[in-house]
Symmetry: C2
C-alpha cells in the first residue's frame, strides 16, 4: 500500500503541475479510470477535483467504507445525493475562476449542470487529454501490473485449447476460459470473450455464440482479463482439421503482417507507420481489402485507450506506451484470422509482452 | 426474426412520431442500447439517424457482415472511418435544419464536432429522454426476454448455494455462478458479480474478492445475466452458521422493508413512495442510517436505466415498467443484508418476476 501510495502521489503531482501550467484554479475529473489512476478508488460513483487548496474526492454513501480503505491522502467528502453536484457546490464555495473539464467525457447535460451550479463567472476550459496524456505512458507500477494481467491472460490459452473441438459450442469454450480466469484470480474479463469458428471467424467481433464449432476451419480466440485494475488482451487463431493451402496462406500472411508491424515499434516512430507495416504485407499478399480494422490500440486501466494504431494518426510512439498489434483478415462466408500481442515500447525498441506461441495450431 | 422485425418497426414508428411532433428534421442517436432497441444491432460501433427521408444506420468495416444479418429494413451505410463523422456528412447533405441530439449522452467534444460538420445554420436541440422514454415502458417482446433472463439468472442461485461454505474464496463462488450462467446460454453477466462475506457484506458494492468466506456471518450475493440483450438482477443474503438474534433482526427488517416497498408498486404511485415505504420500515427498526442507497432502478437492455426508485423522484409508475426493489442495510465492521427482486408494473398492481425464496437460508 505504501508503495502504491508513492505512485498515486507522483501521478497526482503530475496533474497538479499540469493544472498550474494551464492556469486553472480547479480541474474536475469524473472518468472512473482517471480517478482510479490518480487515487486508487475502484468504485463506480466518484468525482475528483484538483483545486488550489488541494485535491478533494467525492463519493456517495454506498462507498463510505470502501473510500476509507482505498483513497489515501486525499480529503474525502461523502455526499448524500449526487457526488457530482456536491463537487460543484464545493467548487463554487472555493471561489474558483477557471475550471478545467474533460470535454471528451463530459456530456452536454453535465456541462449545463456545471454552468448552472458554479455560476456564469467561472471560465470553463477543455482539459480533455490531460490525464489521458499521463496514462498514455505507463509507470513502473503499471507495467508490473500489466505484466501480471498478461501472464494470467495467456495462461488461459492452454485451457481454451483443451476444450476446442468440433461440435462444442463457442459459448462453452468461453465459459471454460472465463472460469479458469476467475479461478486464477482475475477480477473479470476485460471485454466480451470472442470465440468465433468457421464462417463466424470472419466476424472481427465474433463474440462467443451458441453456435457449435465446425468440422474444419479457423477458430479465432480473443480474450483478456482484468487484474488489479489492468487489462490484458490477446488473440490467437487455431485451425480445426488439417489446414489446406489457402488457410495456410491466410495464416502466414497475417503472421508476417503482425511481425512486420512489431518490427516497426520503437520510440519516435509514428503509429501510422506501424499500421502501414501490417497493411503493406497484407496488400502484397492480396488480402488488403479484408483487413477491415486498425492495427491496434493502447491498453491499460481500459481495454481501449490511447494511442490508436491506425493510418492518419500522427502520434509518435514513446517509451512506456503499451499497445496491441493485431492485424487480421476476414473473408465473408469463408473465415478469418487474427493474431494479437501486447507490446511495450522500450527505450530502444519494444518488448513483446504476450508469451504465447504464434505457430499455427491444428486441432 | 419476422416477429422481432415487427417490434423494431413499431419502436421506430414511435421515434418517428416523436421526431415529427418535436418538429425535428433529423434525430441523431449514438447510444448502443438505444440503437439495439430500435434496430437490433448488437455491435459496438454504430450511429442511427432518423431523418425526413427515412432512417439510416451507420457502422464501420468491422461490422459489415453483422449489420447485414442484424439490421433489417433500414438503409445501412458502412463508413471507412468513423461512422459518427460519416453520419454527420450524410445529415449535412440531407439539408437538415433542425437536428435532435441526446445531450445526456453526447459529449461536449462530440457536440463541437457536430457543429463543425453540419454547419452553423443547423439548429441543435436536446432530445435526451426521447428514446429513454420509450424504453421505460417495456413492450411484450421485451417483457418476454426479461422473463427469460430472470429465469436463467435465478437458476444460478442453487449453484451459488452449492458452493458457499466457510473458507471458499468469494471469487470462486462468483466463478461457479458465472460458469453456470455461460453453460446455460447467458451472453454475459449484467454487472460484476457481488459475493461479499462477513464484514465485507457491509460493502453495498462488494464485488467478489480473493477473500475467503468466514466461519459465521452474512454473505450477500448480487448477480445478473444478459440474455438476448436483456439484463437480470437479483440479490439474496444467506448466513454462514446459525444466525444470532441480531442477525435475525437485521434480516427480518430488510425483508419487511422489501415486502412493504413491493406492496406500494402499482400504476400512478410516485417512485419516491416506493422508496419511502422501504425506508420507513428500516427507520422504525432502527436501521435507517444504514440504508445508504436508493431502493431500486429500472432494468432492461441496460442494468441501470430509468426510473430511479429514490426519494425526491416524482416520476409515477406506469404499466410496463420493470424495476428492482432492493433495500439493504450495511453496518460497517459488522455486516450487511440486501434482498432484491425484479418487479413488473402491471395494469392493476405488480408482478414479482424473481421466483427465488426470500426465507433466510443458513449454511
Amino acid at each position: 500500500m505504501s508503495k502504491d501510495l508513492q505512485y498515486y502521489e507522483r501521478r497526482q503531482a503530475a496533474v497538479i503541475r499540469k493544472r498550474i501550467r494551464s492556469r486553472l484554479d480547479a480541474l474536475l475529473l469524473t472518468q472512473a479510470a482517471d480517478i482510479r489512476y490518480l487515487c486508487g478508488f475502484t468504485g463506480s460513483s466518484a468525482v475528483l477535483v484538483f483545486a488550489r487548496q488541494g485535491p478533494a474526492f467525492f463519493t456517495d454513501g454506498r462507498y463510505t467504507q470502501q473510500a476509507g480503505e482505498e483513497v489515501a491522502a486525499i480529503q474525502t467528502i461523502v455526499s448524500e445525493g449526487s457526488p457530482f453536484l456536491r463537487a460543484l457546490q464545493w467548487i463554487k464555495e472555493s471561489k474558483v475562476r477557471t475550471l478545467g473539464l474533460d470535454f471528451a467525457h463530459c456530456t452536454v447535460s453535465s456541462l449545463h449542470q456545471v454552468k448552472q451550479q458554479v455560476g456564469k463567472k467561472v471560465e470553463l476550459r477543455d482539459c480533455s487529454g490531460m490525464v489521458e496524456g499521463l496514462r498514455l505512458i505507463k509507470d513502473a507500477e503499471e507495467i508490473a501490473r500489466i505484466r501480471l494481467a498478461i501472464k494470467l491472460g495467456s495462461a488461459l490459452f492452454p485451457t481454451a485449447l483443451k476444450h476446442i473441438r468440433s461440435g462444442i459450442r463457442e459459448s462453452q469454450v468461453a465459459a471454460e476460459i472465463e472460469y479458469e480466469a476467475r479461478r486464477r484470480g482475475a477480477e473479470g474479463m476485460s471485454f466480451e470473450t470472442i470465440v468465433a469458428g468457421g464462417a463466424r471467424s470472419a466476424l472481427p467481433h465474433g463474440r462467443a455464440s451458441r453456435e457449435r464449432l465446425p468440422q474444419r476451419g479457423f477458430v479465432v480466440l480473443d480474450f483478456g482479463v482484468i487484474l488489479t485494475g489492468y487489462c490484458s488482451d490477446m488473440s490467437r487463431t487455431v485451425h480445426l482439421g488439417k489446414p489446406d493451402a489457402r488457410a495456410r496462406t491466410m495464416y502466414e500472411a497475417v503472421l508476417r503482417a503482425q511481425l512486420a508491424a512489431i518490427k516497426r515499434v520503437r520510440p519516435g516512430v509514428a503509429v501510422s507507420a506501424v499500421d502501414e507495416a501490417a497493411r503493406s504485407v497484407l496488400n502484397k499478399a492480396g488480402f488488403g481489402q479484408f483487413f477491415t480494422h486498425s492495427t491496434g490500440h493502447g491498453v491499460g486501466l481500459e481495454i481501449h485507450e490511447a494511442p490508436r494504431i491506425a493510418g492518419k494518426q500522427r502520434q509518435k510512439l514513446q517509451p512506456g506506451m503499451v499497445i496491441t498489434v493485431e492485424p487480421g483478415i476476414y473473408i465473408p462466408g469463408e473465415g478469418g484470422v487474427r493474431i494479437e500481442d501486447m507490446v511495450l515500447v522500450t527505450e530502444r525498441g519494444c518488448e513483446v509482452l504476450t508469451p504465447t506461441t504464434k505457430r499455427l495450431i491444428t486441432i
